[in-house]
Symmetry: C2
Subunit: 323 residues, 2 copies
Amino acid sequence: MATIKEVAKYAGVSVATVSRALNKNGYVSEAAQKKVEEAIKALDYFPNEVARSLYQKRSKMIGLLLPDISNPYFPLLMKGIEENARENGYSVILGNVEEGSKLKQDYMTLFGQQNVAGVLSAVEGTVSQNHSMPIVMLDRVLEEDDYAVYTNDVKGGILAAQAIMDRKPGNVLIIAGPKSVPGSIDRLIGILSVLNPTDVNYEIHQTRSFTIEEAKETAEVIFRKYKKIDSVLASNDLFALAVMKEAQTRGLHIPNDIQVIGYDDIPFSQLVYPGLTTISQPAFKLGYQASDLLIRLINKNKISKKRIKLDPKLMIRDSLRKK
Amino acid sequence: MATIKEVAKYAGVSVATVSRALNKNGYVSEAAQKKVEEAIKALDYFPNEVARSLYQKRSKMIGLLLPDISNPYFPLLMKGIEENARENGYSVILGNVEEGSKLKQDYMTLFGQQNVAGVLSAVEGTVSQNHSMPIVMLDRVLEEDDYAVYTNDVKGGILAAQAIMDRKPGNVLIIAGPKSVPGSIDRLIGILSVLNPTDVNYEIHQTRSFTIEEAKETAEVIFRKYKKIDSVLASNDLFALAVMKEAQTRGLHIPNDIQVIGYDDIPFSQLVYPGLTTISQPAFKLGYQASDLLIRLINKNKISKKRIKLDPKLMIRDSLRKK
């Protein structure tokens, strides 16, 4: 494939002129424009990324599968991904799969057609259809995934349960996230590893998704179903916020009558009253490191760690009682 | 350019076999695989989207510029865009510009290199560098933009101000959005058209952005600066939520001591206590229609309306006093 230098030489103009002519940006004389166009034709030069992609058999694009962009946790991941991708000259094509939909396969096909260089997926169980296309899983990671960046959710569960146990709970309700999401199980393992050795009363309420719609339904249900709870470990911040709102609507005081802890630390945790105490996942960092790992894979660069596990931390605000 | 049928005919196999051979998906005998590869070479067949894009001089991709994906209003827009694009066989490349950053130009260059078929932009003042690339502006639209989908913000301002005037305000504070965003000016025009003919006291607090960071700062500042306000018209829901939280932290009752109305109707407006009364922008519909308009432009289909203005509506919840 011809280079821009060869085009310039053939046309008898400078590389800068070829560049201006190609980008239709800045002054180029009619004569020079014509010479450049002839040179391009003669040398079969393709001036853009698409041509480069075809030539190299892959593009400078990454496909990204997310389960729910209306949950603010995922835009935070996306910001990290995008920043790293941009620094490396890659673009990100978005596939918003929606929790539980069948769009995952459609997007994987589309990504294949667009010749993406690799895929980042936060949709559990994403598998490459094409063995030459690298995939890095992030956030929702299975044991069999080769390349992955995720939070230590067992530790997250432990931190949340310890924060509750330090604050004299009476009856604890654990809102467990969907069983299909690996992190939900890990969080529950972490929580139970703290609660089980004690004699605290607890119940587990199982949910099917992390969506705002189910959060609102669940908040109503639990106050009817579990009469005496005074401490709630929520599956994510959306569920925690919905429980807080429902409690306040019922005239309960937070944290005196009922204390609540979330998971994720979405920006809204700080915008409610009282502020939500939660487990902070390093969302931006997860995204940034996942993109970094994928681009290393694409470029066959050295990879020191195939699976990267990041630590969550406890963010104390005002939805738990004083110690 | 050869078609897959011609490749099959040349190779003496079925189209299904060519497809399996190309996608490395399913069983293909070694002999058939070889014949297909020879046919592809002989006919100069390019089996993917990238090749198609090069051939047609444009891709099935749309570039999307957004100012801030961590504001939940924009993921809602994005969902509408993505759904329409997917229905039309287009992918969306995301450019998250961040309020006030200089990334807009970088992304436009990247989109050009990726040969996108068109651009959707919610970043004010986006201009095509390449006259053949269609652009549709959405949400943040200037008078000179040819193709645009946006909310009737004058009407939004009127609805918000009327809702306040119906509820006996004492001293009103208007938090005005950044002057660089056309919709901010329109909302203010709408608000003032309702307040000015009355004798209500009001003050205007000018802001520089719509970000959560500035929302938190502003909420603290206004309670120090404006002593007697009892009604707040916020520039968006993030600012409204921050004001509500600050008021509650100061022991004020919402809506009795201070009533607040937002703008956007992000999902969190429903998750706070009390629920935020706000002006609902049809975000999903804005995104969906903007993508539809752009793809019509790309395909040179009939366009009945170049600029589409959608109506906002008042969502009554509990942050305003009773009428």
